[in-house]
Symmetry: C2
Subunit: 148 residues, 2 copies
Amino acid sequence: MHNSEAMALSAALLAVAGELTQRINEGVVARGFEGMRPAHGFAFTRLAPDGATVTELAAHLGVTKQAASQLVDEVVRKGYAERRPHPADARARLIVLTERGWACTRAAEEAAAEVVREWADVLGEGEVRALRDRLGRIAPYGPIRPAW
Amino acid sequence: MHNSEAMALSAALLAVAGELTQRINEGVVARGFEGMRPAHGFAFTRLAPDGATVTELAAHLGVTKQAASQLVDEVVRKGYAERRPHPADARARLIVLTERGWACTRAAEEAAAEVVREWADVLGEGEVRALRDRLGRIAPYGPIRPAW
DNA sequence: CTCCATAGTCAAGCTGCTTGACCATTTCGT
DNA sequence: ACGAAATGGTCAAGCAGCTTGACTATGGAG
């Protein structure tokens, strides 16, 4: 595969990723969750199962723990999460989503599903599943980083 | 397709896009082009064919023309591009890549090809081509936006 | 020729991130 | 068991990249 083909793939991938992020965020805001940015959503996906500490969140987002703490301040102030004492470590705090935080997460899922449905209209359902499987096989493990 | 499947696809897509961006940028820096950020690369892809004006660049990147002008200042100062008088409009300036700018673009292509080759090792060459084709069919036309 | 739109820049301000410093608690080495 | 080092978290200051607002110079429509 030539370099120019690799660039074409890269460009398409980044364009699709950029549009997806923007569309999800717009969908979330349109559903009444104002002032939310994409980074909040990525934080929520880490907090969703059982909560997380600030340090874990920082690692997930690929930023310093100060930046993560600041982001937590913001979502706590807006009512999407709360800080609880950590059950096993008195230094740490467990950040967990509130009911409003869960509602916002569901809104993001709906918005994502809308975009994916448009892709299915173009590619067909099976192709979209194939896309998911293939991307899943090359997706890295590390922190989620902004595309640029 | 359920919402959770859409989210799985979205997460994989964004993770892959984030890693690709980071790896390309690291590859560019490792090849001796220090102080380059991903945004520079996206600017270069617009400048590459025949140059562009600041306003066109701003539209391509989805930022204000002041921000684009500032970015041009930076790449001009670093020797990757230069401002020339526009052949058809005395208000405008045509921003074109220097030889060093072209070298940097080639370095980005090599770095991208390296990452794509790793994908081919996992998925196979045919699957990667299929990925490119499908992403190309759902890629939007508008400005290239940062993933978040 | 007049009037408005457009290309570009200068200046000021904001936001989200970084680095550096610090305290409280846990964990490790002996 | 105890002191030292590591870890979780926050406060504070600074910075980079972006925004809005204001302005000049040129182009184009009537």
